[in-house]
Subunit: 272 residues, 2 copies
Amino acid sequence: MTTQQLIDQIKLKKSFLCIGLDVDLNKVPQHLLKEEDPIFAFNKAIIDATHHLCVAYKPNTAFYEAYGLKGWESLDKTIKYLNQNHPEIFTIADAKRGDIGNTSKMYAKAFFEDFGFDSVTVAPYMGQDSVEPFLEFKDKHTILLALTSNAGAYDFQTQTVDGKEVYKHVLETSKSWKNAANLMYVVGATKAEYLADIRKIIPDSFLLVPGVGAQGGNLKEVCKYGMIASVGLLINSSRGIIYASNGKDFAEVAAEKASELQIEMAAILESL
Amino acid sequence: MTTQQLIDQIKLKKSFLCIGLDVDLNKVPQHLLKEEDPIFAFNKAIIDATHHLCVAYKPNTAFYEAYGLKGWESLDKTIKYLNQNHPEIFTIADAKRGDIGNTSKMYAKAFFEDFGFDSVTVAPYMGQDSVEPFLEFKDKHTILLALTSNAGAYDFQTQTVDGKEVYKHVLETSKSWKNAANLMYVVGATKAEYLADIRKIIPDSFLLVPGVGAQGGNLKEVCKYGMIASVGLLINSSRGIIYASNGKDFAEVAAEKASELQIEMAAILESL
């Protein structure tokens, strides 16, 4: 998917919501556990109920790997279901991968070609040659961790290198990499006040913003500092939507929660 | 496996060799491709031929993920084969994972409990709460990326924060984390001269050292600066061993190459 196609979808749906599909079998409604594939059954129900309210889905691979081969199979079914039924939706493998060049290439092949995701999240610690193999894929997007939403972000990301924080150094350096136009960035909503500075470095890039809701981030604040003319934001919510109810009405309640966010987003987009 | 058990194995086998099982179907001998599971067939042959010469095996997960569900299954068969037949061998999932706390816990569960690996490599960018969930597992080891062997290591890892490089900051900071005794570190052999400084910060920790051979690192240099009384080194070689021949004699030639390194290691250990 091209960035323009994503922007078009945002304008069409009046939404820049991404729903995180982080399926924990301890948290899904109990009646699903008797399904042959409870993880996929859960995802399918959530997707069927919410696809008109969001522009992206983001399964975090950890939740699938934790269930071994069966989990990996559920992830495969989920991305194939999305690509077959909702090819207009942007898909994100939240995998936080990154390795030396020839190895990163294998990861890129796995997520872009085999699974068919539109994008994958990548960790920057190993530098340029660990990220560029992901950037080679046409109309695929690499979402680089910049400033994450967790407490540990203050351990290294906000440390100052020559008067500039490590995460800013990541943003600046990555701009010079080959096919940098295929880069997006993860910036946590819990640090909305950093967004003004971030926009000075990457004025045009899309940001994937986790941490609205469960982690305490505020949508209006994020938009105030992070939104650009082409929107440039994907706001992720996981637990606040998919686990809003654990009864038989879980998909319906998820849609209600997604709708609340979409309505808020539509109002913000109108004022653009 | 405890660290002491690993040290005992090193002394018994007179080897601190780790063999990287990075299986690329474009590089394995062609006659294996007609096997039902060529990846596992390759690994089994390599393990059968080399297990007496090394103390650790390190499959890099990227190479398995690149083959989708089948690859994941081959990885599962490989670790189970190792645990059943060679429980004395230290196993490393080279996965370079790391995510917010509850998500890292899922990765830890996947690699330590479901697969049954002794250790996993983890990226430090997201800080303390992304690493500590891995450290909670008794007799399991978390191998934190410190200074990697690739060119991109100079992009962020060697940048200076308050007069100290980022990777040193990672080493120092991680020492205060809960269950830090379960930490080991990745330090690339291509940067042997850094090892003296690194040993000042972490005098007792095991280091996993990739980059000997194919990437140009030198074994003697690494030992000179990095070895401690309890050895404290695992030297990894992947391509230089497993792809030394791509004929029917591939396992035999792999054993020869592993043996060359083991003999060199035995001599170094004797001079300790």
